[in-house]
Amino acid sequence: MMNLQDLEKQVIRMEDIQEIENLQRRYGYYFDTRNFQAVVDLFSDSADFADLESFGLFRGKEGIRRLYWDDIGRGSRPRDPSESWISTVVIQIGGVVNLDPSGVAAKGRWQTWLAETFLYGGVPRQYWVHGYYENEYVKERGKWFFKKLFWNVTFFTMFETGWLTQPLVGLLPMANPDGPPTAFYPYPSGYKFPYHYNHPITGE
């Protein structure tokens, strides 16, 4: 039978997994409500990068602020009420979270399903989007933060067409990344976004 200290470690591990799941879900909810300052505040000050879709690679906390606040959130410009139709619903599904033995680092793979609406080519459109995350998290001052956010898009299609007919509506590069996207190979490329984990049974 284990002692109090070991038991405490077990409890902490469980709490860590729960908190990371919560962090990921809260990210999703803040994104949906377009609270991009809140999103940026979920990242560590020593965050590595964010690489989403075909936006490009954004490095460091400064890059993350540039991506979410300036680019996606369009800075401090208040939203015109007539733009309220522009929306995202990003649903976070199926997290596989693995804690590093150090207890202060973790990795997670998630699936996302999105229903989005925004202008493309000057025309308001509705989209279905699917993607996987392979994220990294870090524990600082007792709280969990995002260290690395890597969102790999499978397809980005219009509601009217579907992924087989039109897997990608087009490219969405941002004007000011630190580098090109590192792994943007949408369907039907057959690209498999690598897992951070080994097979749980065979260990391979």
Partner: protein, 204 residues
């Protein structure tokens, strides 16, 4: 730390798991159209239930009216076979009161429905958020307050951009709410369903 503190933390982890289960079990009963079983998931001191724009229903009596009379149409057996509810529960974020007896949870839902609207059978995509309240009574968790906020209810054929809301559902010939809906502002209003929680990092 000592055994007593550790027990508190284990209990909290168990509470989270139990509430997640409660929420998911609710949803499966909804889809199975087992309305009595849903009512039994609510505390006898339940506060209220609010779903789409049906209105605000107070107390355990209100809960019975909502699920048994309105949604369940007061019948014991299931609806006609083609009527389908699939309300998938995703991404729960839970927070607890210091005494561990009350909890709040935000969830996302994605729905595939088939039900009559007027004279016609319709198939719809829906999205919504929950902000629910749970209470612990005699060691078990119950629903105290359920609030489902509908983002869109769109016919399968159209999509949320074209037809965000199939129609209003705020009238029933015999079942009367206790008050009008408190927060029915579907897409594309731009309404953000408020969080029960503060930002985990900045605490604003």
């Amino acid at each position: 730390m000592n055994l007593e503190e550790l027990e508190k933390r284990v209990t909290l982890m168990e509470d989270i798991q139990e509430i997640e289960n409660l929420q998911r079990v609710y949803a499966y009963y909804f889809d199975l159209q087992r309305w009595e079983d849903i009512i039994d998931l609510f505390s006898d001191n339940a506060e209220s239930v609010e779903i789409v724009d049906h209105g605000l229903f107070l107390g355990k009596e209100g809960i019975k009216k909502m699920y048994w009379d309105w949604i369940g149409k007061g019948i014991r057996s299931a609806n006609q076979p083609w009527i389908q509810f699939i309300i998938t529960q995703i991404g729960g974020v839970m927070d607890f009161s210091p005494d561990g007896k009350t909890a709040w949870g935000r969830w996302q839902t994605w729905l595939c429905e088939a039900k009559p609207f007027g004279a016609f059978p319709k198939q719809e995509w829906l999205h919504g958020y929950y902000e629910n309240k749970y209470v612990k009574e005699n060691g078990k968790w119950f629903f105290s307050k359920l609030h489902w906020n509908n983002t869109f209810c769109s016919p399968f054929e159209d999509g949320w951009l074209k037809t965000p809301l199939m129609g209003l559902m705020n009238y029933h010939p015999t079942v009367k709410p206790d008050a009008p809906p408190t927060a029915f502002h579907p897409y594309p209003s731009g309404y953000h369903f408020p969080y029960h929680y503060k930002h985990p990092i900045t605490e604003t």
